[in-house]
Subunit: 644 residues, 2 copies
């Protein structure tokens, strides 16, 4: 079994490993043989027509395989997944093998036409689309049922035979990327295009958003500093700051859509057609007929799912929200106790004690968020959604609501029940800074440190004093397979979302929040970059055209912040003093201003086009061309028919 299984092996002399497949130790011979045969088999026979090579380890155990593909196979795969590439005339077009000559940089011997991330994405796609023909079980494992059309890799994964599939790092490229990304301290933009080439669009878009968001916060931060320095408390200055903030937050979210369109147009994902979504790996049900595809696959009643959502998940989420509020009330008791203690025995220690409840609460919030996250994942998975996208949406909704309440409930309570602006400012600062520090630590530095320690031990054990460059492929695989798996951009966006809440919800009370956010985000860029390059396995590239549900989440937050800021300004003593005779007038004025601001927000969102004019033109041009092509074809047909 030491030789390669590729039938194309004679043709393809330079096998380039792209993806690693790790099978469980002790997987039966017949299973391995069947699986690898399916991978190398011809397309016409229902195979994936890829190349595969076993990796022989020192200890002779053979459970890791390297997967590659011939150049031609990759090009055909690029057509299958619908990659969009730049043509020689600078327009973006869907790649097809027959029109390959019209693409920029294409040459039959240019193996860099497709980026490594794209090649890996293609291989992943081909592997996942390797489907059972007439097998009704995985050979050697009768309990792992198969039915025609079932994805073999997904069944292998769910039955534990396949441990993991992950793409290999390219040490050389990674080094270059690291250098241009965070290797030297510099002022400037991130190399987004390089990040996209290496990690794919989803991750590049996250870093693009992070960078954009940081830049967008700078005006708020700059305007916020003098408020803190000079302790401005004038009514008109506050109103100006808040109004600026509210309109600014609308503008930045709208402008982001445009920038996102520019980026994804350049990357080709804006034009990429949506593929038909297969059931997610965890989905299970009775074997039936899918009404859409007409294929045999597990089906699960939509009614049952609705019942699970509304009768179990919803009450559970409500219970958690209640619990979170209960914890908050305990926090306020603690706070009161600390205050009383400070008043009784005034000392340095007691004044330090004043901050303790907030810090404890911030830590507890973080812990609760994390525990709830597991519960939400379990519940959403139990709801048994057919599609990954629907699973993700339900998970995000659950987590967002809880995290929102958890992070902001105490602030709302302080602001609108206790009316204590001083406490609000103090809590806001403590919460913001604590959560930022905790996040940076838990997300990047801790895993980095653990990984580094592990790597050092590994290297020492394996081959004494080699540098990265000298590592053999076996050693590289061995090291990378033990690295953590990057679970997607969810947590990173969530962090930004909560930060946006801290900055915008109470911006007129604590103008300095934007400054902390900017500072945090600058280090966040570096620590996230470090995390991607050093801590985690390389993730598969995932083409995407926008940041999806997060755009909606940020917009909702900016609507809520209009309401909170208007109320806060209305409650400030300075504004209060403007209406000495009638509190009614005050409230009515505040309500009027709030409605006006909301109206302006919606009109602005409506008026600012989502795509810049030149992108619109380019898209229109492409659409026009495809319509023309269709028309030409029909006219030819019509002319022929009429001639008969």
């Amino acid at each position: 079994m030491g030789e390669s299984w590729s039938f194309l092996d004679t043709v393809e002399s330079n096998f380039r490993p792209l993806v690693v497949i790790e099978l469980a130790k002790g997987t039966k011979e017949e299973t391995i043989e069947w699986f690898t045969k399916r991978i190398v088999d011809k397309k016409a026979n229902g195979g994936a027509q890829l190349l595969i090579k076993p990796l022989v380890m020192e200890n002779g155990v053979e459970n890791i395989y390297l997967v590659g593909a011939s150049h031609l196979r990759l090009l055909l795969g690029a057509e299958t997944v619908g990659l969009v590439k730049e043509c020689s005339d600078n327009s973006m077009r869907t790649f097809t093998y027959s029109s390959r000559k019209t693409f920029k940089d294409f040459a039959d011997d240019n193996h860099n036409f497709l980026t490594m991330a794209e090649c890996q994405y293609i291989i992943k796609h081909e592997l996942e689309n390797l489907r059972a023909k007439n097998e009704n079980m995985i050979p050697g494992y009768p309990q792992a049922k198969l039915y025609p059309g079932k994805s073999i890799v997904r069944r292998l994964l769910t039955s534990g035979i396949l441990v993991q599939i992950f793409p290999l790092h390219d040490r050389e490229e990674l080094k270059k990327l690291r250098h241009s990304w965070y290797g030297r301290v510099k002022v400037g933009y991130q190399p987004l295009d390089d990040i996209r080439c290496y990690f794919g669009e989803t991750i590049a878009l996250y870093f693009g958003f992070l960078e954009y968001f940081t830049f967008a916060l700078i005006p708020m931060a700059v305007i916020g500093i003098p408020y803190y320095v000079f302790a401005w408390e004038d009514y008109d200055k506050y109103v100006m700051f808040a109004t600026f903030n509210l309109l600014w937050s609308t503008v930045i979210l709208e402008v982001w859509k445009r920038i996102c369109a520019i980026l994804t147009y350049r990357w080709g994902t804006l034009l990429m057609k949506r593929q038909f979504e297969e059931p997610r790996p965890g989905f299970h049900g009775v074997l039936g007929i899918n009404p859409v595809t007409g294929r045999e696959e597990p089906v699960y009643s939509s009614l049952k799912r609705q019942l699970r959502i509304y009768l179990v998940s919803l009450p559970f989420v409500c219970l958690c929200l209640y619990f979170s509020l209960y914890v908050m009330m305990i926090y306020f008791d603690l706070e009161q106790w600390a205050l009383d203690y400070h008043e009784e025995n005034e000392s340095n220690f007691s004044s330090l004690m004043l901050y303790v409840p907030s810090i404890i609460y911030a830590v507890v919030i973080e812990i609760m968020n994390r525990i709830y996250r597991y519960a939400a994942e379990f519940l959403t998975s139990w709801e048994n959604h057919r599609l990954e996208s629907s699973y993700q949406n339900h998970l995000i909704l659950k987590v967002l609501v809880f995290n929102f309440l958890n992070c902001f409930a105490s602030l709302f309570y302080i602001a609108f029940v206790l009316f204590d602006m001083k406490l609000l400012r103090q809590s806001l600062a403590t919460l913001l800074i604590t959560s930022q520090i905790l996040n940076q630590f838990a997300e990047s530095l801790l895993p980095y440190w653990l990984q580094k320690r592990y790597n050092r031990r590994m290297k020492k054990r394996m081959c004494s004093q080699k540098t990265d460059r000298d590592l053999s492929i076996a050693e590289q695989v061995n090291m990378e397979k033990e690295m953590g798996t990057y679970l997607g951009t969810f947590d990173d966006y969530l962090e930004l979302f909560l930060q946006f809440g801290y900055v915008s919800l109470f911006s007129c009370v604590y103008p300095l929040a934007a400054v902390f956010a900017v500072l945090n985000n600058i280090t966040e860029i570096y620590s996230d970059a470090l995390k991607m390059c050093r801590v985690y396995k390389r993730p598969f590239a995932e083409p995407t055209a926008n940041i999806g549900v997060w755009q909606l989440a940020f917009e909702t937050m900016s609507v809520i912040s209009v309401v909170t800021n208007c109320i806060l300004i209305g409650m400030s003593p300075q504004v209060d003093a403007l209406f000495p005779d009638s509190k009614m007038d005050l409230v009515l004025t505040v309500a009027l201003v709030e409605h006006l601001l909301l109206a302006i927000k919606f009109i602005m969102a409506f008026v600012i086009p989502d795509k810049p004019r030149d992108i619109q033109m380019k898209l229109a041009k492409l659409e026009f061309e495809s319509l023309e092509a269709l028309k030409q074809q029909q006219m030819k047909l019509a002319a022929e028919s009429l001639k008969e």
Copy 2:
């Protein structure tokens, strides 16, 4: 020139006239010859390959032509315009000539496979797409410039050589439709599918919406009646009514989207691909290169248009709004004067006089709306929009804003400045009823009466005592060409929009409004049907998948009505009495309730899917099939490439 020009004349023995072309009297011979030649010429030579016959009138003048097409030509045209028809397996598919056998009711000799309205739409499309080749002017008219690709018909229309193109009525079909639509007094739905077959989707969708809206108002009307009868003035009853109204209006607008999807799926327009939009006929500019199509056509700087919009149109609209407010203030002076007069000399006459200002104001509003409409049309046309859709959107926006202010400003003033609920109720009733009567009269009955008188005179002059059935085609054309042109559904939707405003904005003050609206709409259905069948020329069918910008307009109105109703309830003395100590609490409670209602509205709009589940499934199935087909094709290609 008495004979037909059709080259297919020998083949096609039964020429069925579908569309009428009226040229200006005295059009030059060479122009007519050139134009008709282009119409009958083969597709391959750039013609439309249609059939045309001159209509010989009594007086020997020959300026009217009948256009038809062979059955085969129509089928190929149906493919060109992208018609979607039902297949034998009940799925909806885009019609192609090569797959014609798979469609339901298709037979080579079944000339009813395409409805007459569809045939007429196809002919219109083919005529409009008759484009200049190398002509640089219309023969005989050197001032009417042409350039390659310019639509000939549009140039003929703008230079006045072509007076009009309109589709012929089908007397038999129309009679049947009239009978089932409004011929007998009956309780039940309109024959929407028949209306769609005869008038096309846009008009059928309007009547569908009108009917749906009427049904949707019935619950409001039913609940509203006891409020009026028993003069309920309790706080809780009002709040219940208003809350019901607000949520109900959200539900009906969301449910309409679903019903609309069901209708347009059945009609095939939901699946129809958008065609590339050509410049509208009135668009002019310097000859240049269109960046999207790469073709030579007039271009007009977008900057210039923006300047015209923001420096001329916007100030003009603001001026008109100001003027409208000014007129409103005069109305209030008049109102005051009438009140004073009534108090001084109390008599039957004087109490009648109390209603005079409102009636005068209602009439003035109608007049102002109509004058402004012309101004708006002129301005929007002067803004020189390239696309008809963009022209329509700008026109609708201008007219909507003005009409909204014109109709509701006085009510807002009475409600929120004068705080006079009695006057509000009275004004609302007067405005609503007056505008309904005026509309019904001006829109349908007056034109109907005029048309009837004219028809009678025509018939008398032409052929003494024939009935409809005996009318020759020449007489039918002669009569129809003098009928008014239906200008689209704009005014009809606008009327419904304003009515929705009267019903929802102040629903808690005047619950009877819904009753009047329902009564009006029932007669409206009949008078609009009468208008379509009897008063106007048959309009060309226009495929459409939804009611477009009106959905947004109605939704905006329902958001505004949440705000107004909350304020009205807050101002009512009953609610006032609940908060005897603190007006602050009252205002805060009202604001809280308003925000909650708005939040519920948005969540409901988000949660209710826009398309029913079965339509979603059918669409998913179609998408899946087209993806599969593409994949099959690619796999075949791939297999071949790999074999080489």
